[in-house]
Amino acid sequence: MTAELFQLLLPWLLILLAMLTGTLLEKAHFKRIHRREREFEGLPTLSTKQTPTDREVSSSALVMGDVVVSIDYFKRFLANLRNIFGGEVRSYGSLVDRGRREAVLRMKEQCPDADLIVNVRIETSSVSQGGKKQLGSVEVLAYGTAIRFATEPALENS
């Protein structure tokens, strides 16, 4: 009798556990993201191919950052509910947002002394696509070309 009751309650317990810890973990992650984004405010990223200045480039390198993030059990439950009625699935929105910002930050962390990153591309793919047990996880890859300008700014004709 108790075993049956336990079996009946287990999914709900998991959902409750996921709701509490998942929300806490996500908040902590966003806090870390905000802090690191402030740290890297001085390193702009562009999605254009051209560098916007005429300054002389001293070195460049390909940099990338990637991350695989997964959604929690509770949010997956919410998303499944949302599938019935349609509309915006906010729980997945925060998942990809987390992934993209984390990937961009990891890319920036590869080149802390760069002046600029041009041609930034962000690619999202699902890890276990078409699998029977859908993990609800995404992989995000961000890559670009980091540029460091020569220390002396280009002399202007006087």
């Binding site: 990338m64 993030v69 276990s128 993990l135 890859l141």
Partner: protein, 105 residues
């Protein structure tokens, strides 16, 4: 070997083109990682095992691309692109390609 994902190596002149070079690798997840990931899946967050797996494979694909370019006598690869595709459940292919060129030193 210089890499960039724009059409030139910033600040350098391209002297010669050698055509497209590519590198790829297919990696499978292992059971241990799958188990850890399914646990982590309850509370959500980063699946570190998968992140590591994918960045290792990407490094390998880039390495193979570089080897191919070096064989052609190139010293840089421009316009590098990455693509990821899942072939079957549990295995993913990482593909890197670009144009091998020679730039001034």
């Amino acid at each position: 070997m210089l890499l960039s994902n724009v059409e030139q190596i910033p600040g350098k002149t391209i002297l010669e083109h050698y055509g497209v070079v590519s590198g790829s690798t297919v990696r499978a997840k292992n059971v241990g990682r799958d188990f850890a990931a399914s646990l982590k899946n309850i509370v959500g967050g980063e699946l570190k095992g998968y992140t590591q797996l994918l960045s290792e494979s990407r490094a390998q694909a880039v390495e193979r691309m570089k080897t191919q370019a070096a064989e052609l006598g190139a010293n840089a690869i421009v316009n590098v692109r990455f693509s990821t595709s899942s072939i079957t459940q549990g295995a993913s292919e990482i593909f890197a390609y670009g144009t091998a060129v020679k730039v001034e030193d």
